[in-house]
Amino acid sequence: MAVVHSAPKFASNEGVIDAVAETISVWLIEATEAHGEVIFRVERDAIPRVLAILRDDHAYQQLMEIAGVDYPSRPERFEVVYMLQSLTKNHRVMVKCSASEDTPVPTVTTLWPNAGWLEREVFDMFGVTFAGNPDLRRILTDYGFEGHPFRKDFPMTGYTELRYSEEEKRVVYEPVVLPQEMRTFDFLSPWEGADYVLPGDEKSRGTPPVAEAKTTENTGQTGAGKAADKAAAKIVSPPPPIQKDTGKPAPGAPDPTSKEGGR
């Protein structure tokens, strides 16, 4: 497919996979090129060695970013992605490995000093541990925070909220109370994609799910009750007399208000 987008263009990916794969073939699981990005999936324990080879032999001098991704359905649910950049070759590659909560990834702080914070962030957000990182504290979340917020099973609203308590004269932490349900809309259209039945839409697919149709023995069993009494619609009382305006006050009516005014 011809490239028509105007996103940043770095040096060609041609031959990069072959050249790199040759040197890291022992640990390489998969090398792909898609959307103009070269990605090497390698074994977790070999991460420092692979990145050292990429840095020293293939001139990827800079570690720009370490990203964590959570795929809860996989046996090793996390992916740790390293973005490398070569200043001399003007090229970028990604290296990734998988991990779970209890399989630590070896640190690369020995190769790049800025890996320290990047690993701390992945640890903080996903709970992936990095063996050998000398300072694996939380970094972005609050002091004393529990849980790893960017996991897919961590609720958007979190578990605690805080406010300033006037009685205690300090900030207090309390469980989250939502006055209104969290609004999440599923905009995926029901005719392409969604695999559930919309409420009220059960009959739209084929015949209704009943064994046999309901019928009655005779017409009197419809359950409609007795027919209405036709005589009730007849008018029995005489119509009210038509009143004429004679110009005289009606008998027993009070006198009109005098000009002097009443009390």
Partner: protein
Amino acid sequence: MSMQREESLTTTGEVITNYTINFGPQHPAAHGVLRMVMELDGEVIERIDPHVGLLHRGTEKLIEQKTYLQALPYFDRLDYCSPLAMEHTWVLAIEKLLNLEVPERAQYLRVLFAELTRICNHLLNMGAHILDVGAFTPNLWIMDLREDCLNFFERASGARMHSAWFRPGGVHQDVPEKLLVDIGDWLDNRFFQLFEDAMSLVLDNRIFKQRNVDIAVVSREDAIAWGFSGPMIRAAGIPWDLRKSQPYDVYDRMEFDIPVGTNSDCYDRFMVRVKEVYESAKIIRQCLRDMPQGPIASSDSKVVPPKRGEMKQSMEALIHHFKLYTEGFHVPAGEVYVATESPKGEFGVYLVSDGTNKPYRCKIRPTAFSHLQAMDFMSKGHMLPDATAILGAIDVVFGECDR
């Protein structure tokens, strides 16, 4: 600032007292909410432990809950000093996954406004840096120019700061012709007079130099190893600029120079930014000169919403409008890492799509993370007041650092 004393005995029996002080989280020179735990020997910094994350809002998690278009305004709120530069990376990442062509005029408009944003950002940073090291006046003068920039953003998008003007496939609306004329006029007749006035107060100022020259010198090797980018790596003498080396939009047609430093100290970082303002002005002038007429957004109606007038006439357009603003567009499955040259350095977006209308994961690479991490080794052995100069020269904004 709170202080506490730590006393310890050396082998010779002398008593050494190191101070541990808390710089921030609410300190005017911290440029936001940065808390730095500093260990001081007298007035000399022994160790700095920056605590970030006080402005952590979980933007990346929020983005996972939104459609691609709904996620766009979050980017304005990352680096709120250069909102359009943040949007730029996001729309380019989406376009890269979609392989979507953007019309020429839209590319020129984006580059023009990205450079105006760069000027705007550098003005604020330089003003704040000067203020941090003790001079008040230039900041006030520069703010006047920044106000002009914000007015231009307002005329283009309707919002002064959080524009949400770049859209996947182009920009939201075309600009009035008068705006382009006014930007050119402003550069020719107003901007440089005032800017040079303000700079003349500091560039050769003895106090300013004493506070910045030879402060936080970083070698080339260190700058590369610590993942520096933007003015920080250029001040170290490495001519690395993503606009030049990995051009996006129409940057490959622009003629501009990459200013580099020679000494890699705070003064060089400041000077690189001053020179970049001139280069940005050059780019803006070229955009104004070469910008063609034409559409300002892609004609792909499955991504770009139709024009209002079209909707009154065409049922098809009406359906597209409805679907795009409820469901949004679907992005093919895949993952990309797109990095652009934001005013502060390399700002990247690692976007993982699972083929639906919402991003599966969006990792934002803040520029400040690598730079702030180097704060410890850059300020070791310097005096306490130098820390503010170093911090000012890093150009850190916590909306972006903490996300």
